[in-house]
Amino acid sequence: VTTLSVVIPVKDGARYLEEVLAAVTAEQPDEILVVDSGSRDGSVEIARAAGVEVIEIPPESFGHGRTRNLGAESTSGELICFLTQDATPVPGWLDAYRVAFALADNVGAAYGPHLPRAGTSPMIARELTEFFALFSPTGEAVVQGPGDPIFLSNVNACYARRCWEEIRFRDVDYSEDQAFGTELLAAGWIKVYQPAAAVLHAHDYPFGDFMRRYFDEYRGLHRAIGHVERFRIPGTLRYVAGQVAADRRWVREHGAPPAGRPGWLVRSAAHHGGRHVFSALGSRADALPDAVQRRLSLEQSAGTGSAGVLESAVRVPQMLEQHPYATVARVMHDGPAPLLPAREGMADRERLRIAMLMPFFGRGSGGHNIVFQILSRLEQRGHVCSVWAADYDQGFLARRASVIRHEIVEWFAPIKAPVFTDLDEWSGADVVVATGWQTVHPALGLDRTSARVYLVNDYEPDFHMASSERVLAEDTYRHGLHCIASSPWLRDLLGARYGASADVFRFGVDHDTYRPRPVPRRRDTVVYYARPETARRAVPHGLMALAELHRRRPELRIALFGTPHQIQTPFPYEHLGILSPVELSWLYSEATVGLCLSLTNFSLSPQEMLACGLPCVELAGVSAEGLFGEDGPIELAPLDPWLLADALERLLDDEELWERRSRAGIEFAARQTWDSATDAVEAGIRHALRLREQTELLGNNP
């Protein structure tokens, strides 16, 4: 049973309060609270006599939003009804609200109509009746969602406590209910107009007070939701004429004596015209001097109404179904999804179901080329593969699965696997393979798998400066995924720093493309993979080294590639932009020396240079020695512009050294194939399954 509290803010409300409280009590809510802000007409005594709880607050602390928040905080019902002191519920009021909230789980608020009391002026009575009839012409409860009217009135409204706790009333002078209605819909809640939850209510103010009240209300409306009432004299005249005609019909239909009808029509014209003028003035009140505002305001208040930074803040509606890092949050909070129990022999099954999770990519991504070269060969060996896009980058959101798949085939390798962009479609796999730090937490969230493997192409924390991304990238090595690292250096780093188990695979080379081309080898050309967009490429150091080399050898031809943008350099160079693999192979076959630096793991480029017979210079003391040896096909130099220039010069000057490095490079590259890379990755995947078998089966049966 839903519990229900009723909150009534009161100030000098004795005229109707006894009647209101009696009607509310008859509805049998769980609690009734009156919040009185300095009544002097005996309202407090009336409330106490009715047996309801009363909170008294100083008049200066009253605020339409603030005081209602206080009322909600001071009660405990799952539903909180708000009434004004002059709104008398009709029988069945609370039950009608209960029905409204039962219509859907995400009903945040409901409101009912205001019926005119006996003796209410025809203008008000007609407007109230017609206004509420618009929401429900049939008289049935109506659910209102995004795009529907934001109208909500605290004269007679009911809120789900969960919704109120999420949104709360803004501390504004007026129209806190309208602001709530706007924010409620923006936050994904819905509201219900319930015709059966009616109250008797009317604003029977004297003419002057009525106008000034409208000034206050529209000033509040402007401050709450920015509404500016349109005002044009011809339009206003048409509006007033239309309203007077409607009032005339109403008076006739509702039996007002003919003698009094002309009087009502004059009052009607003054009422609608005056109200339109005061509404327009109220919504532009901030442009009026304080003294004028006070004169026009029933509350005699002035000021711009801005109550600080928070109050003037714009609430941004929820745009995403969930934030991009929701998976990380889930894994951090709940831990990884459980793996399937290990089964004996699962590592040796001929065909495995392998799901590869990949981060966002663009054309020419070296890391993705590695992943898809290997995946296409795993498919050729009979494994059943699927590709899952998983990244915090919102770029994937704009691309459909079929387009991503087409790009993979066109740009990287002819895969047969389908591509999925929604992990909610996950149906399980023998092994999940994460292929970038962005994919590890999503992989940890996937269940119905026997093992998780991490294909580590590079030490990715170093791709980021001090940031959440860097911290999360480091975190990926600590979740016990079995790693398959792309170099011995990387394997040792993962083991030593994070205690991760790791195998090694080596990048392959596309020998059909990267081979010595039939073009004369020049003796005066240095080619440099200069991509400033990738910080780990140490481009400033490379440019300093080439500047030094140019100072020593002004006649040397220098060519830069790897970026579409021209780079400002202190030496002349040929800008080659981004080249296709075939173009690169011709460049490597023609040049004398290559320069390719990496502050983390070495990349494919040096191997491809070697495959074309081009000796190159790489950084010493990082990752190259582990693969090429200290005196292998690569000329190594520390990260020092002058020493790098020395290394380049050695290869330019020393023909015997050049020949030796070139020969060794071709021999080394000949051993690097994508088939051998796939052998190593497949062995790593099976190793991961075997580790699970060993830890579970052997661990349980010593």
Binding site: L352, R353, V384, C385, A401, R405, H406, K416
Partner: protein, 87 residues
């Protein structure tokens, strides 16, 4: 007593082997089923590539009244043409 225990162990062992074989068989079936599902999904993605690339959703387009009308006209004309062509 020992003989009875040995018989029971042998029976258990045979049951375990039988269940293992069944699990292996079911796993193979699962792999084949997954391969078939992947193939179907991949083929469908190949077919919808240009529609997805151009962000075209044919369902709402085809529901649009003028399109339905045009289709109706086309089908009528085609029907008449076929009748006339048939000797």
């Amino acid at each position: 007593v020992k003989t009875e225990q040995t018989d029971e162990l042998a029976a258990d062992s045979a049951e375990v082997e039988r269940l293992r074989a069944r699990v292996t068989q079911l796993e193979e079936q699962l792999v084949s089923l997954q391969a078939w599902a992947n193939e179907v999904a991949a083929r469908a993605q190949e077919r919808t590539y240009w529609l997805d690339r151009l962000h075209l959703d044919l369902d709402p387009i085809m529901r649009h009244l003028p399109v339905e009308f045009a289709l109706g006209v086309y089908q009528t004309v085609r029907g008449v043409y076929r009748r006339l062509r048939t000797p």
